[in-house]
């Protein structure tokens, strides 16, 4: 079992009345709400928290890409990852990832990921998301009707740029290059493991199986509703004769404290900030025409695959969020027990945990990171150790593997 700490670099300084006053945290979030002095603080605290997560014992640390928003202020996760590559020694650096359809030419991603892989000594996980509707079709103006095709072409080009021994020409529909010959090339052979963060399209399941990529379901709907989607993935995987849990990952929000009442009091306001402000996306931005595939609509999975577009929805309270499974919170042993069932219900080998959530101050985030990493993570790490047939082929070769180092109590 691998446990990774996910970080969004949330913009924590949104005003009290944000939800009432503004229609969206993404795309047209008013620029006057951005304070560079606060951003200076948030970026540095984010980097500190990521390093701290590595020090406290997480197997990997994850950063991701978003544009024109206060939900996560990392338009370039590679900049953050390059700091991680220097400041950490053995953890996986998981860039979750680069929206490959947005880069012209997409070999820019092949190059930057190769740089990160070389700097980190082969610790990079290469995430290839399509990207949200807000990021890709609105903030970057990508055409929703062709973005998935462009994504597929970019993926093909990047993998070839990493693996082909000789220079080649690429005559694509979206990219034409006479000379493909990237320098540097990745340290990992044949290339960094590819993780595909999926949320909006069921075709991704088959794609991950066909290409032997890792499927990571990132949503905030929690493990209860996430099961519909993960069951869908496993149905496709099992049909291909595959049941290796390491090919699947899931994201879960976690708060650890001394008692249920203390946890509610300490984390409640920050969790409510996250669900009610950071996911406050104007519905029109969350689903541009053609962004969602016809098969996903036909499968009736519109709701399950809609993470964003909550603006106008009811205010979500701590109690509801706990009840629905959006957040796993409690004492270390309570959280451990819940996460054990998440792992077994969803049949996953990678669990990504979000410890810095919403408006948490730095010290509280660090406390949550420390307690999760030292009092929960060690009790989950060995879940799959008794199944040696499950090999994690999706882990970077230069990163440490802590599972199998002795079974915890």
């Amino acid at each position: 079992m691998k446990l990774e700490m996910f970080h969004l670099a949330p913009y924590r300084g949104l005003p009290e009345d944000f939800r009432e006053k503004y229609r969206s945290v993404w795309v047209d979030v008013p620029s006057h709400l951005f304070d560079p002095k606060l951003a200076n603080q948030y970026y540095n605290e984010t980097l500190d928290e990521l390093v701290y997560g590595a020090e406290m014992g997480y197997d990997g640390i994850c950063v991701n890409e978003h544009h024109q928003n206060a939900y996560g202020i990392m338009p370039s996760p590679n900049l953050m990852a390059s700091v991680m590559a220097r400041q950490t020694k053995d953890v996986a650096i998981i860039v979750m990832g680069n929206s490959i359809a947005l880069y012209d030419p997409p070999i820019r991603v092949a190059e930057e990921f190769a740089m990160l892989d070389c700097i980190s000594g082969g610790r990079l996980v290469a995430g290839f998301p399509v990207g949200t509707s807000m990021d890709t079709t609105y903030a970057y103006g990508a055409n929703p009707s062709t973005i998935r095709e462009k994504y597929a072409e970019a993926e093909d080009l990047i993998i070839r740029a990493w693996t082909e021994k000789e220079m080649f020409s690429f005559d694509g529909k979206y990219t034409q290059l006479r000379y493909v010959n990237i320098w540097p090339r990745p340290m990992q052979d044949p290339h960094p493991p590819v993780w595909v963060p999926g949320a909006g399209s069921i075709e991704t399941w088959q794609h991950c199986i066909d290409k032997d990529f890792m499927y990571a379901y990132l949503s905030y709907s929690g493990f209860k509703r996430g099961k519909t989607v993960m069951d869908g993935f496993w149905k496709v995987a099992n049909a291909a004769g595959n049941d290796n849990p390491y090919q699947a990952g899931f994201l879960q929000l976690v708060c650890v404290g001394d008692s249920e009442s203390e946890v509610k009091e300490t984390y409640g306001p920050h969790i409510e900030y996250f669900f009610n402000k950071m996911l406050h996306v104007y519905p029109g931005f969350s689903d541009s025409p053609g962004y969602r595939t016809i098969d996903t609509i036909k499968a009736g999975l519109m709701a399950q695959t809609s993470t964003f577009g909550r603006a106008g929805a009811e205010y979500q309270t701590w109690d509801t969020l706990i009840e629905q499974g959006n957040v796993v919170a409690g004492t270390p042993s309570q959280v451990t027990e819940q996460l054990k069932s998440v792992v077994s219900d969803l049949h996953i080998g990678h669990l990504m945990l979000l410890n810095q959530i919403g408006s948490m101050p730095h010290e509280l985030a660090k406390e949550n990171i420390r307690r999760t990493a030292t009092e929960v993570v060690p009790n989950l790490r060995h879940i799959w150790d008794d199944k040696p047939e499950y090999v994690d082929k999706w882990w970077p070769s230069g990163a440490v593997t802590r599972a199998g180092e002795g079974v915890a109590s």
Partner: protein, 271 residues
């Protein structure tokens, strides 16, 4: 009205072509919401043989996945017109179809005797932007399209759920109906987005001067998608244009006032 499926470009495309009426041929190119245009086409068909192909992604035309951009669509239509042996005829286009009509007339001016553009897209002015109708709330979209908010067509748009649907079960009749509606909408809107996203000027402003035949610009006075000021922009770029603003109508002016708009066009074509 009759309808036939035409193989174009060695069967790469199957184009659904509706035909009605008799007399001199007239090419009609539909816009972003082509399904409510029956009355208007019937009015035109009283004096012309109206040929109305569906853009792949709309109606039962296929091959949308083989069209990368507006450029490809223009050449598909030139192939289609060759296949139909249509030359020296007038073209009428609404909205997205107006943009296509103007592009076709710029590429092959000699093919078209006259051009009528209704609420045409294709140009862009930052200070008077075309509405981002892909993104606005359903009620706002309805107001931009239709004058009468109580009309069936306006209500159909205004009451559509936006984006985040409740969980639906594809096994139930109700679930199926919702899903079918979304599949149809996703197909036609994503087709429109292919040509109009994110800004609906794909170079027409550089080519419009090539359209030198008599051109008529018809706009609904209350057009909230492409405001009537765009008629002025088209007129300024064209050497032989006249315009007519129709009061009491919005973007779907030809659906709201089919007789009036057809009469304006017939008068233009007969003089």
């Amino acid at each position: 009205m009759s309808s036939r499926i035409l193989d174009v470009n060695g069967g790469q495309f199957q184009i659904d072509v509706a035909e009605s009426g008799s007399g001199d041929p007239l090419l009609y190119l539909h816009g972003i919401a082509g399904k409510q245009e029956g009355d208007f086409i019937a009015e035109l068909a009283t004096s012309h043989r109206v040929i109305a192909p569906w853009i792949p992604g709309f109606g039962s035309s296929t091959g949308s996945e083989q069209i990368a951009d507006f450029h490809d669509l223009i050449y598909l239509y030139l192939d289609l017109l060759d296949e139909l042996e249509l030359r020296d005829l007038p073209v009428v286009g609404h909205s997205l179809g107006g943009m296509l009509a103007a592009e076709l007339a710029a590429v092959q001016p000699e093919r078209f005797s006259k051009v009528a553009l209704i609420g045409s897209l294709g140009l862009w002015d930052q200070d008077n932007p075309v509405l981002d109708f892909f993104t606005v709330p359903p009620a706002e979209f309805a107001e931009a399209m239709y004058t009468d908010q109580k009309s069936e067509a306006a209500l159909a748009i205004a009451t559509a759920p936006q984006s985040k649907l409740p969980e639906v079960d594809p096994e139930t009749d109700e679930g199926k109906e919702i899903i079918d509606y979304y599949v149809e909408r996703a197909k036609s809107m994503s087709t429109a987005a292919k040509y109009l996203w994110p800004i609906p000027n794909k170079g027409l402003s550089k080519r419009l001067h090539r359209v030198t035949q008599p051109t008529l610009l018809i706009w609904g006075e209350g057009d909230g998608i492409c405001p009537p000021v765009y008629a002025e922009y088209f007129a300024a770029a064209l050497s032989n244009a006249s315009s007519q603003i129709v009061p009491g109508a919005a973007h779907m002016v030809h659906v709201e006032k089919p007789g009036e708009v057809a009469a304006i066009i017939n008068k233009f074509l007969s003089t």
